[in-house]
């Protein structure tokens, strides 16, 4: 009777053709963020002096909505990948590292979702 599944045979043997994905996605999001960041920086700098009504009007302009909806996932994903590397480098206790990275990713995903939801709500419902 064989209880050993094929998974046991391949575990720990290295590449599953996914090894460069983290590195690559960090670069892809970085490239996407280069133009977005200039637009976002100017919007952010003006934010404090804007009333709620003006802000709603700004968010619901089509180009602003779509730029926000591009910026938010790109920036949160980029942050997720970067913080993961830092935690992998500086946290040396395995279980704390693994649970920490998991918690960080879930939290950032949740915040990204909240941001996207807020933008959509402002754009469509005012």
């Amino acid at each position: 009777m064989h209880y050993r599944t094929p998974l046991r045979e391949v575990r720990g043997l290295g590449s599953a053709r996914a090894g460069t994905r983290h590195w690559w996605m960090q670069r892809v999001t970085a490239l996407a963020l280069i133009p977005l960041v200039f637009w976002f920086a100017m919007a952010l700098a003006a934010w404090p002096s804007v009333s709620q009504m003006e802000f709603v009007r700004w968010v619901s302009r089509p180009w602003n909505t779509i730029l926000l909806l591009s910026f938010i996932p790109a920036v949160f994903y980029h942050a997720m990948l970067g913080i993961q590397v830092i935690m992998e480098d500086y946290v040396h206790t395995d279980w704390i590292k693994i649970m920490g990275i998991l918690a960080m990713k879930l939290l950032l995903a949740f915040l990204a979702l909240a941001s996207m939801f807020a933008v959509l709500r402002l754009a469509f419902l005012g």
């Binding site: 700098a45 934010w47 404090p48 949160f76 913080i83």
Partner: protein, 142 residues
């Protein structure tokens, strides 16, 4: 006394006792070159920018929740702490951008000679200041 400590300290990577030699320039006795300072600053700004994203999400949610919560968030943004955080975040953003672009250049295999490294390091600092100042002037006078 100290000799004895060194002699008995285990060597890194082996179970045996023996003389422990310095393995690499130690952070406390090694003066960091500007490139190393920028490298660690890249990480620090990355962490700070991520913390700022939490505030971004809270701000957008405050705006979506309605005028009352928006006014509270706006009061925070226009206060001393809020303004410091906002402009600190923007500077961190442009620093991270400049050093990030250099990383992308490095990925192509270019820009590794010593003269290059130092010139571009100072250029990065200058450009991040220029971008921040440009945004500041843009929002004040346009």
């Amino acid at each position: 006394m100290l000799d004895e400590v060194y002699r008995q300290a285990p060597r890194i990577g082996s179970g045996e006792a023996g003389p422990r030699r310095p393995l690499s320039p130690h952070l406390q006795i090694y003066r960091l070159p500007v490139t190393a300072l920028l490298s660690i600053t890249h990480r620090i700004t990355g962490v700070l920018l991520t913390l700022g994203l939490v505030l971004l999400a809270l701000g957008l949610m405050a705006a979506a929740a309605g005028p009352v919560s928006y006014v509270k968030f706006q009061a925070f943004l226009t206060g001393y702490v809020g303004q410091m955080l906002l402009w600190g975040w923007l500077y961190a953003l442009f620093f991270h951008l400049c050093h990030g672009v250099r990383h992308l250049v490095w990925d192509t295999g270019n820009g590794f000679t010593r003269e290059h490294l130092n010139i571009i390091a100072y250029l990065e600092i200058a450009m991040s200041l220029v971008f921040t100042l440009a945004v500041f002037l843009f929002t004040r006078f346009l």
